[in-house]
Each structure stands twice: as structure tokens, then as C-alpha cells.
């Protein structure tokens, strides 16, 4: 029983920690499947975190904050789209620019508005997402194994967590079973084929970029308005890049993306639990070493454990009509 409890608690924090990664990774997946490489996931999450925290503070509504966060991220995504699609600019450069812009802008605005070293004021009450109890959580609590897992790990998360799971399901379904999904998959592989089939390449890519922005917005807002109670400078802490790693690790497919994100979330959860714990034979591991674990694993997984990652063939390439 004790073990089940512990596992349920670890699973619970794994889910919490995976959600921002999942949002960002799905965002990256949409963008890259359409042929637009986006290393600006990090920046878009960061700006969303800031915008959502600020707006949630002023409006007193977490939902309004989420909306603002998503809008801010979509706006940045459109900047990237404009540069990458309309002007056929270098997508890496544009992505780096967005990351730098977000990192600087959030701190400067935060300082100017609130004077708390870049932080936004602490969110309280309805300005923060409450934890939702799923139906029957209390009733099922006593059922062995399933009960505690359902009660502790599955139930009791904030709304954005369930929205992210919904986004995953919708992404998988849309890509596989809809016209839009088919065209999107095609445009990232061979835009000329889509063009000659009479479908707008730019239209599809803009749509993907907007979806990418919205999902980054969800992830960033979750960080600031649900996981924390406000914005902290650099609070995304490289999650946008870990998400990119997850996308590659999952070979640009939605369901494997979920497992990749859960794996990274689990590493983070373990890292948190290991802090201060004395390991037999090793002694107490320095906090820094443990905190570095997810990042080290990212490098190791990317370098060694992925067999053949085959990105969409046209990703990163602006579409120019030519023959």
C-alpha cells in the first residue's frame, strides 16, 4: 500500500512536470510537420508565462490570463511565420531572435511594471487555476491500486493539464484522420506536391505556426498561473529545448511525444525527490548534479539512443517555386 502511494505520488508529479513539455512538444510537432523549424518554443512559452501572470493578476481570472498568454505566444509565432514563410528567412535565426526577445522583454517589462526583480505579483484565489477533482475520485479512493492512482495522480490537476491532454488527442486525430492533417503532413515533406495539388503552401504553414503558438501559450501559462503562482524570470528553464528533444526522440509522432515528455517529466520528478536523499554507497548527491539530470539525459538520449530520426523532409526549407 505504501509503495502504491509512493508510486502514485511520483506519477502525479511526473504528470505535472510533463505538461509544459507536452504542450511545447506538440507545438513543435505541428510547426515542424508543416516544414517550419521552430527553436523559439522556449521564447514563446516564456512570453506566455509572463503575459498570463500579468493579466491574471490584473483581471483576477486565471482563464483570462490563459487567454492572454496564448495570444502573446501566437503573436510571437506569427512573427516567426512572417519571417520564415512570407520572407523565406532563416528559421534558426528567427527562432533564436524570438528566444532572446522573450528573455529580455519579460524581465524588462516585469521590472518596469512591478519592480520585483522581474517577477509578477503573487497570484491568489481565482487568479490561479484551482485543482479539479475528477468525478468519483473520493469514492474510488478505497479501491486498491487503482483508487490511489486515480485519486492522487489522475485527478486533482488544474484545468490546463486536462486541456493539454485534450490537445494531444486532437493533434493525433487531426493529423491522421482529417483533410487538414493530411495536407499538413504532405506540406512538410514535399510542398511542391501540395502546391501542384492546388493547395496553398503558405496557408497551411501559417495555420501550423498559429497552432504552435497557441500550444506554447498553453504550456507557458500553465507554468505561471498553475504550477507557480506568478512569473519568475527565465522560469521556462530550457523546457522549450527539452521539448524539441522530445519531438525528435518521438520521431515527430504525437503519441510517442507523450511518452517522451512523460519520460523527461519522470526524470525531473525523480530529481526533485532525490534532493537531500543519501544514496547508499554514494552519499548525498549535490543538488546541482541532480537538477542537471534531465538535461544530461536529454543529451544522452539525443546522442545515443535514437536510432534513426527522420525529420519531415522539407522542414527548415522555405518554399520557393522553381524547377
Amino acid at each position: 500500500m505504501e509503495l502504491v502511494q509512493t508510486l502514485a505520488v511520483i506519477l502525479d508529479s511526473t504528470i505535472r512536470l510533463s505538461i509544459p513539455l507536452l504542450c511545447a512538444a506538440l507545438a513543435g510537432l505541428w510547426s515542424e510537420r508543416s516544414g517550419v523549424v521552430d527553436i523559439g518554443l522556449e521564447g514563446k512559452m516564456l512570453i506566455a508565462a509572463f503575459a498570463s501572470a500579468a493579466v491574471a493578476h490584473h483581471s483576477g481570472s486565471a482563464w483570462t490570463g490563459l487567454g492572454a498568454g496564448m495570444l502573446a505566444a501566437v503573436a510571437l509565432a506569427l512573427v516567426h511565420g512572417f519571417s520564415a514563410i512570407t520572407w523565406r528567412g532563416n528559421q534558426i535565426v528567427s527562432g533564436v531572435a524570438i528566444n532572446m526577445l522573450a528573455a529580455g522583454l519579460t524581465v524588462i517589462l516585469g521590472n518596469a511594471w512591478y519592480g520585483q526583480g522581474g517577477r509578477t505579483p503573487t497570484l491568489e484565489g481565482p487568479a490561479r487555476f484551482a485543482e479539479l477533482d475528477l468525478p468519483l475520485a473520493g469514492t474510488l479512493k478505497e479501491v486498491p491500486v487503482i483508487g490511489p492512482i486515480y485519486d492522487i495522480a489522475i485527478s486533482g490537476h488544474a484545468a490546463p493539464v486536462y486541456l493539454a491532454v485534450l490537445a494531444l488527442v486532437l493533434t493525433a486525430f487531426t493529423l491522421k484522420h482529417t483533410r487538414f492533417g493530411l495536407r499538413l503532413r504532405a506540406v512538410g515533406e514535399n510542398p511542391a506536391a501540395v502546391d501542384t495539388a492546388g493547395v496553398s503552401v503558405a496557408g497551411l504553414r501559417y495555420a501550423a505556426v498559429v497552432i504552435c503558438g497557441a500550444l506554447c501559450g498553453l504550456g507557458g501559462s500553465y507554468l505561471a498561473v498553475s504550477q507557480s503562482a506568478g512569473f519568475l524570470p527565465q522560469m521556462t528553464a530550457g523546457k522549450g529545448f527539452i521539448a524539441l528533444a522530445a519531438v525528435i526522440f518521438a520521431n515527430w509522432r504525437p503519441v510517442p511525444v507523450l511518452f517522451a515528455c512523460l519520460l523527461f517529466g519522470l526524470l525531473e520528478a525523480i530529481a526533485i525527490r532525490l534532493q537531500g536523499v543519501v544514496l547508499p554507497g554514494i552519499g548525498q548527491v549535490p543538488v546541482q548534479a541532480i537538477q542537471a539530470l534531465p538535461y544530461v539525459m536529454t543529451v544522452v538520449l539525443l546522442a545515443g539512443f535514437i536510432g534513426k530520426a527522420t525529420p519531415p523532409k522539407a522542414s527548415g526549407l522555405p518554399y520557393v517555386k522553381e524547377r
Binding site: 506536391a193 502546391d195 501542384t196
Partner: protein, 511 residues
């Protein structure tokens, strides 16, 4: 003008320019409904541009398109599809990781959800398979299919969209002969069903085999429309190559020396298993220019590549200066040291690194020469001095060794390549398309240089799609057709007609 059916496609006065290049000049064309219409012309004659305009990939600068007598504006591929025009591009427009049926429905899914459209496409595929004998597995992944089957998917894609007019751009360029024959069967079946087919090619054999009418393009213009059964490959070849004013090249009679480069029984099989060069034998003597005449794509490039050591022959022997070259010796660097220089056909892809400066390009391939710097180092000053001298000698304009090569005109780029290879005092010089895309002044200059080199005792092999150039420069001419040497003539004892027959593969006239 009574009730004769209007042509399926009529193009009237189409013009299209890309910057200063006029790809189509006032081109008109009428394609009868229910016929197979061939469009022939050499590479760069404007055939593909014209069809891209018809398919809405480009918009014409001037002119009108009529479909079944109705004027249509075709500004995008979807307009073309709506007008009942389908196209099989030379480079397939397929999404390789997707399945056949997904590729078929792309852009014509018939609803936001795929399920119904896919089911309908499956049924339609089954019907088309029966009707035209186009069997294909709808769930196969396109990237795993053979090239012939991929082309079949392209045809099915067009038919699925209800194409009444099907354009095929160089469809046999990627096919084996057997696959090509299958394709022709299919085209005849389409015609029998009342569809109209436009076939773009530069292979005359195909035109003669399958078309009803044929139009000839040359340098962006339509130069002839004829009934296929009233013409001959020789006549078409002549129309394609064109009778232009002969470039006059002054040259003294050759002083033929000893044989330097001898090739016997050279064959090349490419990665698709096609034999692109068959049993070719030739001998180059000191002090003569041997020209290769042939319609583009008949084995000239392969011959040059094999002799220059860029590809290995599947059979055959090459002797340089009397000694047989082993496999290890047949590489460009070694051959250069032995005095065999090569001016490649495509200067921008093979001859130069266009992002480099003229000075850097002037030492490409010879960068290890101690004259350009000690040991592993390069001396920019020496390289620049060397380039400046060469550019002066070859009248390259502007005389700026630090300018990126891409900024020079075609003629001046060609002179940079020429200077680089010629100044090394070659014994044998292989020259591909020396004057393609080069202005008249530079052509003269290049011709004079080549003649001077021959008079100095160099053996030159000249490959050119310009028949006039081959005739004007060569002392001896070999004709290539389908990878085979179909005849040999002394330049003084032949004419365009005679060569045209050899290039078309019409067998050697009785000696």
C-alpha cells in the same frame, strides 16, 4: 468554320520571360481533342516552361489559354485542375512517406474528414486499374515503389481529379525501356477513352512511336507543327537543332599526330540499370578536334564522364599515351597529372564553386600546386596574381579576381574554367558544351582558343548540343544515338542532313 470541335487546348501568343531570359516567345499551339500531341525541342527550348504555364505553375506575361474553345485564366494549379488539365511532372510531385491512396486524394479529399474520401478513392482506383490496366496497391508507401510505379501514381492522381487533358513532361527520362513501352500502351489506352495527351520529350523515337501530331520548339519559339506520319526523325532533328548562320571559324588544315587517347568498347550502366553508353570506341590524335554530334541525352555526358574519370565504365578499356589506365588511375586528379584536362558540361555545377571568388576558382583542382603557397598554406597574394594574369590573358570582364564567380556572366565564367584547364598545357582536352549560355563575342574567343590549342598539338574531344559548333570546329565527327556511336564522318565530307540522320539513329548509309 462550322462545327469542327474546338481544340482541347489552344495556346495563343504565349510569352514568358525570367529576368532577361525569354523562355517563351509568342508561342501558339493547338492540341486536338482525343489526340496524342508531342512537343519536342532541345533542353532549354522552353517546352517545360510552356507546360508549366498551362498548368498554372507560372503565369504567362502575355497570351491566352483556351480550353475546349473557352478562354480560361489559369493562375494556379487548382485553376488548371478545375479546367480538366492534369500534369505528370518530370520530378514527381509525390509525398514519399504517404501511401498511394493518400497521395491520390491530397488536395481532392472531398470533406474535412478523410475516411469517406479515402474509401471513394479506393473504389475509383479499383475502377481505373481495371479500365487502363494500372494495377497498384493503394496502401503501399509511395517512397518504396519503383520509379515506374510512382509515375503510375502520378497518372492516377491526374485521372482521379477528372483530367481530360494529361500533360507528361519528359516521362521516359526516368524509365527503363520496358517501363517506357508500358507507358506508351497506357497513353494509347487514354486516347482510346477520348482523353487528350500532351507529351513533352526530346527523344524522337518516342514521338514517332506514339504521337499523332508534333510541335517543335527551339530557343523559346514554336518552329514547326506537323503530322507525325508526314515527317521523319531526320526532319524533326533538323527543326530542333535549327539552321542558323554558320559560325565561321578560320582554321588551317590539321596536322594529325600520334594517337593519344584510345577508348575501346566503353559501356556505362547507370544506377537504374539503363545502359547509357554502349560499346563506344574512339581514338583521339594529337592536333585534331573530334566532335560528338547528338541530340542531348544520348550518351554524350556519360562519355565525357567516363573519359574524365568521373564515372567508371562497366566494360571497356581506356588507353592514354599508349598505356592502359587501371581503375585506380581513372580518377580526375590522377588523369590531370597525366595531362588529361576536362572542361565540364555544366560549369556552374561541376566546373566552378560559384560562391567562391574568381581567384579561388582559378586554382580549383590545382590548389596543391606549390606555386600557390608553401605546404598546406595558400598564399592569397600569389593566387590573386595568378588569377589576374589568367583573366587578362582570357579577357575576363570585369577584371576583378576578388569578385564572386556567380557575379560574372556565363561567358566570363566559362573563360575562367577554360583558362584554368588550358594553361596547364594539356595533352588531351575534353570539352563539354563550351559555349552553352555564352554570348556571341565570347563564343568566337573560345572557338579561336580551341583551334589554337589544336594547332599546338593538343587532342580535343568536343561535345556540344549545337550541331553547327561541332561542324565548325571539328576535324572528325562521331554521331551518338541511344548511347551508341552510330557513325563517323570527316567534317569536310558531311552536312547537317547527313549528321541529322546519324543522330536520329538511322543506320549508316551504304558506303
Amino acid at each position: 468554320m462550322t462545327d469542327a470541335p474546338p481544340p482541347a487546348i489552344a495556346l495563343i501568343g504565349i510569352s514568358k520571360a525570367f529576368g532577361p531570359v525569354k523562355a517563351n516567345k509568342d508561342v501558339s499551339l493547338a492540341v486536338a481533342a482525343g489526340s496524342i500531341h508531342g512537343i519536342v525541342g532541345e533542353n532549354g527550348a522552353g517546352k517545360s516552361t510552356l507546360m508549366s504555364i498551362l498548368y498554372g505553375f507560372y503565369e504567362a506575361d502575355a497570351g491566352e489559354i483556351r480550353v475546349r474553345g473557352e478562354p480560361r485564366r489559369i493562375r494556379s494549379s487548382s485553376d488548371a485542375i478545375a479546367a480538366g488539365i492534369g500534369m505528370v511532372h518530370q520530378h514527381f510531385m509525390l509525398v514519399e512517406p504517404l501511401s498511394v491512396v493518400e497521395n491520390i486524394v491530397l488536395g481532392a479529399e472531398g470533406g474535412a474528414l478523410l475516411k469517406r474520401g479515402i474509401a471513394r478513392a479506393r473504389a475509383e482506383l479499383a475502377r481505373l486499374s481495371q479500365e487502363y490496366g494500372l494495377a497498384i496497391d493503394p496502401d503501399a508507401i509511395v517512397g518504396e515503389l519503383s520509379v515506374g510505379l510512382q509515375q503510375r501514381v502520378e497518372v492516377l492522381k491526374a485521372l482521379y481529379r477528372g483530367a481530360q487533358v494529361l500533360i507528361l513532361d519528359e516521362p521516359t527520362a526516368v524509365l527503363t525501356p520496358a517501363e517506357a513501352d508500358q507507358l506508351f500502351e497506357l497513353l494509347r489506352a487514354l486516347k482510346a477513352q477520348g482523353k487528350t495527351v500532351i507529351l513533352i520529350t526530346h527523344k524522337l523515337r518516342e514521338i514517332m512511336a506514339v504521337t499523332d501530331r508534333v510541335s517543335v520548339m527551339r530557343r523559346g519559339e514554336m518552329v514547326a507543327h506537323v503530322e507525325t506520319n508526314r515527317t521523319s526523325p531526320a526532319e524533326l532533328a533538323e527543326a530542333m537543332v535549327g539552321r542558323r548562320v554558320l559560325l565561321r571559324v578560320e582554321k588551317a588544315p590539321r596536322k594529325r599526330g600520334a594517337p593519344v587517347l584510345e577508348a575501346a568498347g566503353l559501356s556505362v550502366v547507370d544506377e537504374r540499370g539503363c545502359e547509357t553508353l554502349r560499346d563506344a570506341s574512339l581514338t583521339l590524335h594529337e592536333g585534331e578536334i573530334v566532335g560528338i554530334a547528338g541530340v542531348a541525352g544520348n550518351g554524350q555526358s556519360e562519355l565525357l564522364d567516363v573519359l574524365a574519370g568521373l564515372t567508371q565504365p562497366t566494360r571497356g578499356v581506356i588507353r592514354l599515351g599508349g598505356t592502359i589506365l587501371g581503375t585506380a588511375e581513372r580518377n580526375p586528379a590522377h588523369l590531370r597529372r597525366l595531362g588529361l584536362m576536362h572542361i565540364p558540361e555544366d560549369r556552374q555545377r561541376t566546373g566552378l564553386v560559384t560562391a567562391f571568388t574568381a581567384a579561388e576558382n582559378a586554382i580549383l583542382g590545382y590548389q596543391d600546386d606549390p606555386a600557390f603557397g608553401p605546404g598546406p598554406f595558400l598564399s592569397p597574394a600569389r593566387i590573386e596574381r595568378h588569377a589576374r594574369a589568367a583573366m587578362q590573358d582570357y579577357d575576363v570582364r570585369p577584371l576583378d579576381p576578388d569578385l564572386k564567380t556567380a557575379k560574372f556572366s556565363g561567358g566570363n565564367q566559362q573563360k575562367i574554367v577554360l583558362a584554368r584547364e588550358i594553361e596547364r598545357a594539356p595533352k588531351v582536352l575534353l570539352v563539354g558544351q563550351p559555349t552553352r549560355g555564352v554570348d556571341i563575342g565570347a563564343i568566337e574567343f573560345i572557338h579561336r582558343r580551341l583551334i589554337a590549342l589544336r594547332d599546338a598539338g593538343v587532342a580535343i574531344l568536343l561535345v556540344s548540343v549545337e550541331l553547327e559548333e561541332v561542324m565548325a570546329l571539328s576535324d572528325r565527327i562521331l554521331a551518338l544515338c541511344g548511347g551508341r556511336i552510330t557513325g563517323e564522318r570527316e567534317a569536310a565530307a558531311t552536312d547537317e542532313r547527313d549528321l541529322g540522320l546519324l543522330m536520329a539513329g538511322v543506320s549508316e548509309r551504304a558506303a
